[in-house]
Symmetry: C2
């Protein structure tokens, strides 16, 4: 199958870019030093590529991601890096542990999540610490007490988790590194308290944006680096954009002012703003369309031509699609090369909840 | 099943609100005067409710929506109100027409879409006119010539279509009505030209926002009114918000400053901004979470409590979910009433492309 044969809108990954991204990250965070976050790509087929690259431990954000990874035989070390206070919801994960089908660890940040984990039959947890972003995680000075409470509930504490999500997207590298440093000092102190309370040695956190300025964690939780997006690309990281939504031009202004392609709000995450089309100015997206004009006097693509639309935010964009088509290389021309071979297709099988 | 039994995040519709919205719209646009737009809700089960309310003709935005409606036996009069220039993509719709399995009409706005419709075996079209929004649709002064071209290609022109999407969301009612008036004068002139060229009498367009100020169209293409969203709710229309994403509080700031529920970017469309939680200030959404505080000294819900998160934009929110759970009434309290019965579940079966 060729790129030109795909029904649009089609989520397409660039094999060359993906391979380069995986290699760049693995050189700095090899093997178990990296715990890739499946929430970014929600595909066991893609995760299997990361196993082949040497990474056997994964993060997940949902119960369904953990169950899907285990069902795909990728359950060597799965961390639900999120809080679930409902024992019934966690019970299937406890069952994976009981039967030995997978190793599953969950994050806890308070008495409710500790109680739920224990009641669900889970055995291992990380103490999740808030290192500056108002989301989940306990106050740093409570981490030691929570480690004690978890152990009193019969749980093994593998270590400490903290995600500096409030700084990973800062464009200026020095400012980002400084923010990560502040956050990671909080994590290091909390981790010392967890260890003093009998917790384990693993310190887990970080992300794509702090891959080269987080020296605190013993394992990095990065996911976006595999395929990237335009928001992360603005940071000047050595990872290359490798995912786009390919669309068909379905209409054109007779006056030549703009063209309209069939890639809209339902095919793209918009929380980080408009997507990008090479050489074009994106005017706006609506449910099923993107309207754009070309810059610098370039010609508009014809009706029926295809364009690559680069998403601003990877994770929720991928979550809208059923599959990722992998081509050797996504061209950066408008219209795109229709003859590019589709090498394989990765189902986005970890979607929903 | 009760609301409290649903796994979260759960897309939930309010039966009382839905019924009221359907009745209000049907009183002004009864039966064939309304052509509900399935792109808003993407569910044949919901569409069947509208058939029961007297509406037998529907709009769709994708080929998949048309095929799904036909497969569900709801193909009495389906309009693909969108441009598809690829005959191969349209061929399954032509097959529906050939076999008499459904009546399918498509929008055309230029020679490419006319050629594609004819090549695919379709027989009926509307001439789609741009009435002010830079998206699809021909220039108004070309409508007559396109009607002629379509007939020369062997197609029957049922009439003229034009959507005033650039004005349907204007909050001020007078300004919205004035914008609709300007747009509809363009449509009326184009429609006269289409009819003079041998086209049919139907003039189709409009939406929820202009339901009471569009006197030009002979059938209204509204979809959002059935379940509404916070953006449309700001217009003061007589339709009530009837869809929310119910989430579980998974974490809480020890200091009581904020709570975090499991409804994030992947469960909500963000193109119209943050969602709303009754009595709360929404701080931000991330992939799987919404962080919020309570206003006016109200207590934060407990960890494990449930909250209703009201989306800013209906269509792309629903498109993220596999199903809509219908309850008698979504409470506006925080936390929500866990005892509300789930009356039925509507699969969101028209998703993707």
């Amino acid at each position: 199958m060729r790129l030109g044969d795909l029904q649009t809108p089609a989520l397409v990954a660039d094999r060359q870019g993906f391979d380069a991204n995986v290699a760049t990250m693995a050189a700095r965070w090899p093997g178990a030093a990296l715990r890739p976050h499946v929430k970014a790509f929600k595909s066991t087929a893609l995760a299997a590529e990361l196993v082949a690259a040497g990474h056997h431990a994964f993060c997940a954000a949902t119960v369904r991601e953990v169950l899907g990874m285990a069902a795909a035989g990728l359950g060597a070390d799965l961390l639900l890096a999120n809080e679930v206070p409902d024992p019934a919801r966690l019970a299937p994960l406890g069952e994976l542990v009981r039967t030995g089908a997978a190793r599953v660890t969950v994050a806890v940040d308070g008495p409710e999540t500790i109680a739920a984990a224990a009641a669900a039959g889970l055995r291992e947890v990380f103490v999740d610490v808030n290192v500056g972003m108002p989301r989940c995680g306990c106050a740093p000075d409570r981490a030691g007490a929570l480690a004690t409470a978890a152990q009193q509930a019969g749980l093994t504490v593998r270590g400490t988790m903290g995600y500096e999500g409030h700084v990973v997207g800062i464009v200026d590298r020095d400012e980002r590194a400084a923010g990560a440093g502040t956050a990671m000092r909080l994590l290091a102190d909390a981790h010392a308290a967890v260890q003093a309370a009998g917790g384990g040695a693993i310190c887990t956190g970080g992300g794509t944006g702090t891959w080269d300025c987080n020296d605190t964690v013993t394992e990095l939780q990065a996911g976006s680096y595999v395929l990237m997006d335009t928001a992360y690309d603005a940071l000047g990281l050595p990872f290359v954009p490798a995912v786009a939504v390919v669309g068909t031009v379905v209409s054109r202004d007779v006056g030549g002012g703009y063209a309209v392609a069939d890639v809209g709000l339902k095919a793209l995450a918009m929380d980080h703003g408009n997507p990008t089309i090479d050489g074009a100015a994106v005017w706006f997206c609506s449910d099923e369309h993107v309207t754009f004009s070309m810059r610098d006097g370039r010609p508009l693509p014809p009706v029926g031509g295809r364009v690559a639309v680069w998403p601003a935010h990877l994770d929720p964009t991928i979550a809208k699609h059923e599959r990722i088509h992998v081509v050797d290389r996504i061209g950066r021309d408008v219209p795109v090369d229709l003859d590019a071979d589709v090498l394989t297709t990765w189902p986005v099988d970890l979607r929903h909840w």
